[in-house]
Subunit: 216 residues, 2 copies
DNA sequence: GCGTGTCTGTCAGATTGCCGACAAACACGC
DNA sequence: GCGTGTTTGTCGGCAATCTGACAGACACGC
């Protein structure tokens, strides 16, 4: 779910961007608080400075999680998505209109913006791809593989990651129900493909086999 | 499915944009020909000058149509989507890198680019929204309403549109199968909510009732 | 006007995945 | 260690939708 950790955050701290940096205001949200409501009029751009945020669509009492933003991730509102704080959250917010004023002067900023939008778009296409062509089981496996990729840098002997989400939240990511995801995970565990060490922690003792399942 | 008919095409013909205009090369494709293959390396931006193009994802022998581009629509590749000519097609193509070089000099161009990406993104969100929350019937009804909106300007007494697609193609738009869409359409017709005048032509004698169905 | 190829309507069977219900496992404060 | 609220596992019934099959309708060239 990681989106676009461009160098925007780092760039902003360079002296030549001081003027732009001033357009970004830090805002804090306690865990669970709504950051943006569905059809918020304002278009803004923010960078996650601390904590995680969940970007999601909702309809009646259902929710679909589009992305989980981590530190360094950049996001633009002006879509019909809501955002909520998954942990205590700090973001740097700028009005899009304000940022736009600087675009002419700072080509680097333009590239960043275009990159952010491009990454969001590319991610959205992946999501559509999954929903249109894959069943819940495959979408879940893809999610596991995706998470695995992010920790693989640690090169642990046995690959584990702590996503810190409950089954219900996982279900909103793959667009399914708690019950379905629960039983799929348990089948995978019985087959020795995953291991659920604790709530919110999954290990992948046999990555190769998981990858095979994704392609079958 | 109409995307982003920004003023890019018109803007480009202004004398001050002559330099940028030169970066766009016209290309022709006969009906049915592939315009971009799935994972084409090059990132480019094009404007439809004549005909229609279909943007779609594919997986094994299934396809999902993301959008149908009309004259004036702008599209950027660099996603995993393919594009094919739905009619005989003429597009103005520019390499993204080439366009990017002009961005600094021409803020208006930047706005256009950001708008294009933003529109694509917003459309992608709508698609996800439909796939995640609505059943085939509702997605189909939304599609009908969407098409209705585009011709409503004609203010005909009874609203008709000729989409020029067969049932199978409609099915790829709503992410369903030919059989399902066929029977759903026939149920709607029996209920007097739509009228299929000829292949590829649908009339909506009772728009209000259709809208009611969409919200139920 | 006839024949061929495509498009459409419809049915039956199988599958997927949802939902409600309920019990067991867990987390955490006291 | 106990009690309460949350999370998880599992079952059964049900609705949506897919697939394959086939017949009838249509379109168009000759």
């Amino acid at each position: 779910m990681r989106l676009t950790d461009s160098d925007l955050l780092r760039d902003l701290d360079k002296p030549e961007f001081a003027a732009v940096r001033a357009a970004f205001v830090p805002r804090h949200f306690p865990k669970g608080r709504q950051v943006y409501a569905p059809r918020e009029a304002r278009n803004s751009l923010f960078i996650v400075a601390q904590g995680r945020a969940r970007v999601y669509l909702s309809y009646k009492d259902k929710e679909f999680t589009m992305a989980i933003l981590d530190v360094g991730d950049v996001y633009t509102t002006h879509t019909r998505a809501s955002v909520e704080a998954l942990d205590d959250l700090t973001i740097l917010v700028a009005e899009l209109a304000a940022v736009r004023r600087f675009l002419a002067d700072m080509p680097a900023l333009t590239s960043s913006m275009v990159k952010v939008l491009g990454d969001l778009l590319s991610h959205a296409f992946s999501v559509i791809d999954g929903l249109a062509f894959l069943d819940v089981r495959k979408r879940l496996i893809q999610l596991l593989l995706y998470e695995a990729e992010r920790v693989s840098a640690d090169a642990e002997h046995i690959l584990c990651f702590s996503h810190g989400l409950n089954i219900e939240q996982l279900a909103t990511i793959v667009g399914s129900s708690r019950q379905t995801v629960s039983s799929l995970l348990n089948v995978l565990e019985r087959d020795g493909i995953i291991e659920m060490r604790a709530r919110g922690v999954i290990c992948l003792p046999d990555l190769a086999r998981l990858e095979a399942l994704a392609n079958e």
